[in-house]
């Protein structure tokens, strides 16, 4: 139950206000629509439908264009490119493996063997 605030106006004003609202309701009865109401409404509905159609067409065009651009980019990326240095195409591990191959102990051994034989001939 709502409590009345102490400074609230008295019941007489409350009753008057209720009566005032009732009079206002009577003074403003439900109006009859003009004959133009329905034709105007249908025109507005058609205008909105046409706007929606245009927006949908625009969105579809945009999606198609985006799909086309994606396709073109995909084709471009899948085409074989010109000779590119292994530095750009190989992975880090592949490059590391190549470098290690250069430090192969067999090669070092051979060099040492040659060196030894050279020293012996001296």
């Amino acid at each position: 139950m709502l409590r009345r605030e102490p400074e609230a106006p008295d019941g007489r004003l409350e009753a008057e206000l209720t009566q005032l609202f009732a009079q206002y309701r009577e003074a403003l009865p439900d109006p009859e629509a003009t004959p133009e109401f329905m034709p105007k409404l249908w025109r507005r509905i058609e205008a909105r439908q046409s706007l929606n159609r245009d927006l949908r067409r625009l969105a579809q065009g945009f999606v198609t264009a985006a799909a086309l651009v994606s396709l073109v980019i995909g084709i471009f990326l899948s085409l074989p490119q010109g000779r590119v240095s292994a530095f750009y195409t190989n992975t880090y591990l592949e490059i590391l493996a190549t470098d290690q191959a250069q430090d192969d102990p067999d090669v070092v051994e051979i060099v040492r063997a040659e060196r030894i034989s050279y020293e012996r001939t001296q």
Binding site: A8, L13, E16, L20, Y24, R25, P31, F37, M38
Partner: protein, 209 residues
Amino acid sequence: MRDSEARTDAAAGRAMVVDFELIGRARGGDDAAFGQIVQAYRKRILGTIARLIGRPEDVEDVGQEVFLRLYFSLDQLRTPEMFEPWLYRLTVNAAYDHLRRQRRRQESRMADLTERQVQMADAMAGSKEARSAREKSKLRELVDSLLGTLSEQDRILLTLKEIEGLSLKELEKIYRVNENALKVRLFRARQRVLKAYAGLAPKGGPAPV
């Protein structure tokens, strides 16, 4: 639309103006069914809008906006039983948008006219019909100015309750908030209007109508 098939809203005790089958057909895209719904509710909705916005010249425009929104949102209606609260919600939203636009525009209104202009308008209106129209106009302006002390939302809520005579159950369905919250808001809005009304009333006498 068949009267014999009109259903009764249990909560409100009001008869549905159209049957569920017609609403279903309109939801399915049947323009003829939609036209019938508009014909059935047009007068009631225009009346509500007239009392909500207080500007007879804008009533049809706002009414068309309501039915336009209805046309494009009917597919979102979950059950035909909720059709009337749904329609009222659209009405409330359209009236609210209009009142906000109107406040922004700050158009020149009868209430803003100078005392001299009002006296001239009074002098011109001599016949009985003109007098009656003038009294109605004054009453409208008085209620409009009292409701003008509220926010747009409270104005609409109070109008629906006090002038349109909607029950709390109906308002609950329209606003989707619980009854107690509505009661509190209505009480505060009414108190504010009452205070404004008391300010207009001369000491010891009734407020001017």
